[in-house]
């Protein structure tokens, strides 16, 4: 399947990546080639095999018990690019 410029742009929006200008040119050929490579899969006839739910293993479940091991100062603050008023800060979100 050839991938169109419009599709590339749509995917970049979904992935929050900037592919404007020369970035696009650099990526477009690579993407085309990679998609061409994975397209080989279309030659494989799988009959009616599907894998809706993988049931090799089931039920990795926890009991409903509370544990609190971290404070926000240890957990969030040290790595936050912008830590204010007890949490990470971002530009004002207009809902």
């Amino acid at each position: 399947m050839a991938i169109t410029r419009q599709e590339m742009e749509h995917i970049a929006v979904l992935a929050r990546l900037d592919i404007a200008g020369e970035r696009f040119d650099r990526l477009a050929d690579d993407m085309q080639n990679i998609v061409g490579m994975v397209d080989k899969l279309q030659q494989l006839d799988l009959g009616d095999i599907t894998d809706v739910i993988n049931t090799e293993r089931k039920n990795a479940l926890r009991e409903d018990v509370v544990r609190q091991d971290y404070t926000p100062d240890e957990l969030i603050a040290p790595n936050a690019p912008d830590f204010q008023a007890g949490g990470v800060a971002v530009p004002r979100v207009v809902e």
Binding site: L14, R16, V52, I53, N54, T55, R57, K58, N59, A60, L61, R62, E63, D64, V65, V66, R67, Q68, D69, Y70, T71, P72, L75, I76, Q84, A85, G86, G87, V88, A89, V90, P91, R92, V93, E95
Partner: protein, 476 residues
């Protein structure tokens, strides 16, 4: 032209588990910012989710209570989108194989039984909270991230805001019957998105639907639906067409505005979460869940109407509360009291007490057994009805039995005819005018009974007093 509205709901309810859905952080509401967090619920690199068993249990319970098929095998999927309140940039939810499917919820609207089908119930994690008032920008509080939710998606079976409201009330009542959600609207434990379309009355085709978000109360849902129906009719009547879009309800300005149109529809790229494995509910687990489902509100409501002869309002008031309905049924099942008598107590004095004290019945010491004892004491004439009301607060607040309280408070009714006769004779002797009035043909019984009750310090059996007064007056 006449129009019919077609309404579908997506109801989110927070489950009242102790810990979050994929980590051991507390779900308690109202904690200081980011204090209920860990690497998992803040989306730290390398952290992994482990599913809380209780979430599966609760979701399946709701499925059974709403007539759903519970899928014995289900899985978790990722819903991918970027937003600051979603630290992993995906929400773990369920996509093509939810835990429950194909249910139906019954409810009454103005005495008419209606139903709304449920397409599915799935479990998922809640997002965090964005705070806009703290700083110039926005601060993210991750405390709500990972609080377990169930999402209940209806078929477009509802036709009016009144139906939607009664449906939502029934969902809420059912959640509280099952004890799987706090149902605190003010804490956002139940929220809904609303899909509305209109069509000419009599048509069976579905119109273009508009989704409304940000509806946080049931009364808000009514206002939002009524507004949207009117808006759509207005658009169509003026020759316009309805656009498929998402609109945001503003319950202060009482109007909605466009949030996003069909063109910028999201592509969530759902796929099975590779960090989680299949969930299987085996026969033993299923049996356990089934055993925990009580008789449901609609069934109790109908029984109270049909078997106990209550009014719709009485039946509704009782069946709305699991604790009250259970108290009534237990009392009735004791066989010692008339159901109607127990119902009256619950609806009047008990409800008044709970309301005055702002407590929940299940948090008090009153039990069905204590209530039965109290009613029996009155029925046997051991105490008067008025004395019974005096006993009630102690039944709520102490571990004493009704008899112990009656004893302690000295409320035992005097039914000994000899003793009462003495009082009656004494009262008649002191009230010659009343006796004279009686002879002149006036009705003085009420006055004399009152005097006798007073003389017995409220403990005289009024029926016996009545009888003896009549008897004594005849003699004079």
């Amino acid at each position: 032209m006449k129009y019919e509205a077609v309404i579908g709901l997506e109801v989110h309810a927070e489950l009242s588990t102790e810990s979050k859905i994929f980590c051991s952080c507390s779900t308690k509401f109202g904690a200081p910012i980011n204090t209920h967090t860990c690497p998992v619920c803040t989306g730290m690199p390398g952290a992994l989710p482990v599913l809380n068993k209780q979430v599966v249990h609760y979701a399946a319970k709701m499925g059974l209570a709403t007539g759903c098929t519970v899928n014995r095998l289900c899985k978790s999927d990722r819903k991918n989108y970027f937003y600051p309140d979603l630290p992993k940039a995906y929400q773990i939810s369920q996509f093509d194989v939810p835990i429950c499917e194909n249910g139906e919820v019954f409810f009454y609207v103005d005495g008419v039984k209606k139903s709304c089908r449920l397409e599915r119930i799935h479990f998922e994690e809640d997002a965090g909270k964005l705070l806009h008032d703290e700083i110039d920008g926005t601060v993210v509080d991750f405390n709500r991230c990972g609080v377990p939710l169930i999402e209940m998606v209806t078929r477009p079976d509802l036709r009016s805001s009144a139906e939607a409201k009664e449906f939502l009330e029934m969902i809420k009542t059912t959640l509280s019957y099952l004890d799987i959600s706090d149902c605190k609207m003010e804490e956002g434990s139940i929220r809904c998105d609303i899909n509305v379309s209109i069509r000419p009355e009599g048509s069976t085709e579905l119109g273009t639907r508009v989704e409304m978000k940000n509806v946080n109360t049931f009364s808000g849902a009514v206002r939002a639906i009524d507004y949207e129906i009117a808006r759509q009719i207005d658009v169509v009547e003026h020759g316009g067409t309805i656009q498929q879009e998402t609109r945001r309800w503003d319950d202060v300005k009482l109007k909605n505005t466009v949030m996003r149109t069909k063109e910028d529809a999201q592509d969530y790229r759902y796929f099975p979460d590779p960090d989680l494995i299949a969930v299987e509910i085996d026969d033993a687990w299923m049996a356990q869940i089934e055993s925990e489902i009580p008789e449901l509100p609609i069934s109790r409501y109908e029984r109270y109407l049909n078997e106990y002869g209550m009014t719709a309002m009485e039946a509704r008031q009782l069946s709305d509360s699991f604790a009250k309905a259970s108290m009534l049924d237990e009392a009735a099942n004791s066989g010692k009291v008339k159901p109607k008598a127990a119902a009256n107590w619950i609806l009047s004095d008990i409800s008044k007490y709970l309301n005055d004290k702002q407590v929940e019945l299940q948090d008090t010491k009153l039990t069905a057994g204590k209530l039965v004892d109290l009613i029996v004491l009155i029925d046997k004439g051991t105490i008067s009805g008025a004395a019974g009301k005096k006993v009630l607060p102690a039944l709520f607040e102490t571990d004493e039995t009704a008899e112990q309280i009656v004893e302690r408070m000295g409320l035992k009714q005097v039914s000994d005819e000899g003793a009462i006769l003495a009082i009656v004779q004494d009262v008649l002797a002191k009230n010659e005018k009343a006796v004279a009035d009686f002879k002149a043909g006036k009705n003085v019984t009420g006055f004399l009974v009152g005097q006798c009750m007073k003389a017995s310090r409220g403990q005289g059996n009024p029926q016996i007093i009545n009888k003896l007064i009549a008897q004594e007056l005849q003699k004079r």
